[in-house]
Symmetry: C2
Subunit: 133 residues, 2 copies
């Protein structure tokens, strides 16, 4: 496992995601102030926002003012949210893992009850050990 490479790739993905959130924020603002431009931005962004840097670069060629605005917003969002992410993600994953284990145990237990009871009653004499408990 190459932790350093994973950290690098994750930072890049996260940066692209914050660019997407910045675009959505600007889009919401434009919907109020300039609906035609909002529509233009929506159409422009729909298939390009996977790679944040390529997206900004393309947008710069079409509408530099919008590109600058989204860049400022994503920097602001990054300042505001990134510090909380480590704790949120670690806690989130731990809780989700516990919940998956719990659900799995529940399924195993139900499966055992459902299959063992009718099968054993029909096909063989009941195991005395099961009734003595």
């Amino acid at each position: 496992m190459n932790i350093k490479q994973i950290a690098k790739d994750t930072a890049k993905t996260l940066s692209s995601y914050l660019t997407y959130q910045a675009m959505r924020t600007v889009l919401a603002q434009l919907s109020e102030t300039n609906p035609p431009l909002a529509l233009w931005l929506h159409r422009f962004s729909v298939d390009k926002v996977q790679d944040g840097e390529a997206y900004i670069q393309e947008l710069f060629k079409e509408k530099p003012d919008l590109a600058l605005r989204i860049m400022i917003v994503r920097e602001h969002i990054a300042e505001e949210v990134t510090e909380f992410l480590p704790e949120m993600v670690r806690t989130g994953i731990k809780q989700a893992n516990m919940e998956h284990r719990r659900q799995h145990l529940e399924r195993i237990t139900q499966f055992d009850v459902q299959t063992s009871t009718p099968e054993s009653e029909k096909q063989s004499t009941p195991d005395p050990n099961l009734e003595s408990g």
Copy 2:
């Protein structure tokens, strides 16, 4: 801008991405130790790994051992990488923003040089203000 909601959505996206990285790690390990199972996991994961929790849930129903393994790996990756992400992402976005601005200025300058020289020479008398500078 709803920073709290953005933080929540970003943490969820990040958690799904770390689940994807955990799957890739397990996939690389299985390619060495159990190629048929690696192939199975690859096929199973290809269209499901966008939502980390739904993915783990589905995998639990098919191959609980693999689901448990990916859960352990993603928890480990989260412990190792998340603390570095805030600094990496903030610095990355700042540097990328600077680079985009630099490229934009370069394009504007080139554009001005390219268009002003031949166009003004062909279509009109040169603006004396341009030459006095």
